[in-house]
Amino acid sequence: MGLALLVVIWLITFFSTYFFAAKTWWLPHGASTSAPWIDHQFGLTYIAMGVVFVAAQGALGLFAWQYRDRGSASKVEYSHGNTKMEVLWTALTAILFIGLNLMGSKVWADERFEPAKADAVPVEVTGMQFAWYFRYPGPDGKFGGTNPKLVDPSAGNEAAIGLDTSDPAAKDDVVAGTMYLPVNREVNLTLRAQDVIHSFFVPSMRFKQDAVPGLAIHMHFTPIETGDYEIACAELCGLGHYKMHGMLKVVSQDDFDKWLASREAEKQ
C-alpha cells in the first residue's frame, strides 16, 4: 500500500507538473506593455510554487512507502517535534511568500496607482446585459451627457448608452460595438455598467477590471501589436454572460484616425 501511494502520488505530481512545464496550455499571447511584466511575475511564482509542490508531494509519497509498517523491523522515533526545524521552515515560507508578493507589487503599482498619460486615447466602456459599448469623445475631447431615461438597448450604440443628444458635447461622441485602438498608444479607459456588474476582460492585453453600476472606474493599458483581440465578460451578469463578448481591433494610428473620421461622418 505504501508503494502504491508512492507511485500514484508521484505520477499525479509528474503529470500535473508536466503540463505546466511543457506549457501545453499557457497564458495567451501578450500584446500590451504590461504583458511581459505580469508574465514574468507569473513565471517566478510558478517556479517557486512548482519546487515546493514537487518537494512536498515527493516527500509525502516517499514517507508513505519508506515508513510503512514493517512489523518489528520498523522503529518509530518517539518525538514531539523539532522547534528549530519549525522556526526555520516558518521563516523560509514567510520570506518566500512575502518576497514574491513584494516583487509583484511594483507591477501592480505601475498598473493601478498612476493615472493615464495626458496623450492617452480616451475611451468609455459601458457594460450592459449582454453587450459592451465603446464611446469616443470626438473632436471636442469631451464626453457628452447621458440620461438613463433615454436608454434604448434595442436601438444599439448611442441609444443603448442613453446618449443625451441635446448636450452639445454629446453631438460628436461616437459609440461603437467594436473597440478600435491605435497601436503603441495608451488608452485611458472609463469603465461603467448600466445594470449589473460586468468585468472587462481582454486576455491578450493582460487586462481585467470590473465595471460596476454607479462607479466610473479609470484604468489604462497600452497595446503594442496590431491585431484582433477578443473581449470577454468575466463577472457573472445573467443568462447571457457566456455570450457577452466583443472585439478589440488594434490598428495603426492612421487607420484609427480614418475609422473615427468615418464614424463621425456617418453621424452628420
Binding site: F42, A48, M49, V76, W89, I98, M128, L236, H245
Partner: protein
Amino acid sequence: MATTATVHAHAAPQGFIRKYIFSLDHKVIGIQYYFLALVAVFVGMFLSLLMRIHLIWPTAVLPLVGEIKPETYLSLLTMHGTIMVFFVLTTAPQSGFGNYFLPIQIGAPDMAFPVLNMLSFWITFLAFVAMIAAFFVSGGAPLHGWTGYAPLSALPSAGPGEQLGADLWVISIAIFCVASLMGALNFITTLLDLRAKGMTLFRLPLTCWAWFVTAILGLLAFGVLLSAGILLLLDRNLGTSFYVPLVVVNGQVMGHKGGSPLLWQHLFWFFGHPEVYIAILPGMGVASQVLSTFARKPIFGYKAMVYAIMAIGLLGFMVWGHHMFMSGMSPYSAFAFSIMTMAIGVPSAIKTFNWLGTLHKARIRFHSPMLFAIGFVSLFVSGGLSGPFLAQPVLDIPLHDTYFVVGHFHLIMGVAAIFGIFAATYYWFPKMFGRMMNESLGRIHFWITLIGTYAIFMPMHYLGMAGHPRRYSQLTELAYLHDLIPVQQFMTYAAFITIGIQFVFVFNLFWSMFKGPKASDNPWEATTLEWTTATPPPHDNFGGHTPVVNHGPYEYSVPGAPRDYVMQTDPVTAAAH
C-alpha cells in the same frame, strides 16, 4: 473547568420521536447533521454532473431535467455552490462530527445546551428545505452564483430565477446563519466549560482545537452574513438601496439610487473568507488525529499546530479583500489584503510541514482513514500552492474569475475538505455505529476518488491560465475557448467515474451499518477519550463515570510503555510523559 460533569442534564429518552427525531443527545444530533449533509452532497454532486454534461453536450436533452438552457446552467452552479458550501462543507465536518465527538473527546456527557443543539439542527433542516424549494417555484432557482453579487441578486428583473427563487435562496441562508450562530455558541461554551478533570487546553486533541476555532469563526462570520442577507431582502422587496445604485435594466430605469454594489461584496466576503476556513479547519484537525493514530507516532509540533490553527483563524478575518482585487476597490488596499493573504500561507505551510514530520520515521498502518488523511495532505498541498498566485493582485489580472480559481478552491476547500470528511467517516464509523466498514471497498473508493478528483480539478488550472472565464454555460461564443473543449471533455469523463465510485462509499456505509463485523471499543488502538468508552457510547457517553485525563492526546510508541500507545486516561507511570 466543570465540576458538575457527573450530573447529566437529561435522562435517556424512551420514545422513538424523542430518541431519534427531536433528540437532545449530541450523538444523535451529530448523526442527523451527517445524514443531512449526505443528502445535500448527493444533490450538489448531481447538479455538478448536469453542469459537466451540459458543458460538453450543450444540446443534450436529459431525462428528468430536459434541455439545459443558459439560465438553467447558472441556476445549477448557484445551487451547487450554495448547497455544497453551506449544507455539506459547513454541516458535516463541524456540526456533524464536531457535535458527536467534541463532547466525548473532552470527557463531557453532552453539549452545554442540548435544547439549543436540537434547535440548531432543525433550523438547519428548515434552511435546507427552503433552499431546495427554490427549484420548484415559478422562475426556478436563482442564477446569481453562490456569491450572490448585487445588483444581479437584488433585482428581480435581472434574470430568470431572480424572483421568488432568489428570495428563497436569501431566506434559506439567513435561516442557516441563525442555526450556525446557535451551534457556534454551543461549541464554544461546551469546550470552555465541560472539559473533564485533567483535560487542559494543551491536552485537547487537535480536532477539538479545530472545532473550537471554527466555532469562533462561525460566531463572528455568520452574524455578518445574516445582516447582509436581511439588507438584500429589503433591497429586493421593499425598495431600499443598500446595494443598488441607479441602474437601467433592459431599458427600464429601476427605482433604486445611491446604493453600493461593493458593500455586498465586502459583507459577503467578510463572511465568505472565514467560511473557507470553517470548511477546512475541521478537516485539518481530523487529518492530524488520523495521521498520528495510524503513523503510531505523536503529532509533530503539537503546539505549533495549535498556534497555526489560531493564526489561520485570526488572519482569516483580514484577507477578505483578496476576492475583490478586480472589483473597483482601492488598489492601495489590495496591498494590505495581499500581504495578509500571503501571511496566512505561512501557518498553512507549518501544518503541512508538521504532517510530513509526523510521517517521518513512523510505522504507518494503511487503513482507509489513513489513506484519506494522506490524500487530504496531498490535496491540501496542491490546492494550497495555487493560493500564492491568486493572492497577488497583479496575477489576478489574468487569473481572477477564471477556471484557475475554480480549480484552486475545489482542490482545497472542496475536495480536501471532503477527504477530511471521508477520513473522519472511516475513522469514527466503528464508534458511531458499532461495526467496521469494509476495508476493500474503502480502498477502491480511495484510489478512484483520489485520481479522479485530480483528473477533474488539476486541468482547471490550465484552462484558467489560458483565460477561460468561469460560469460560462456555452463554450461556443468566445473563439479562444474552442481549443480548450477537449480539456473540458476530459474533465467530464473524469467526473462520471469519480461520481460513480461515490455510490460504492454509500453502499459501504449502509451495508456496514447493519452487516459489518462488530467493532471493539478501540479498533484503531487510538488514545483519545472516545476510544475509552463503550462502542457505541452510552447515552451519557461514559456510563456514569467521568474520565480523568493524565496524558496528552497523541502518545504513541512511548519508549518503555507496555504497548505502543498510551491512552489519555491511562494512569501516570514512570514511562509515560
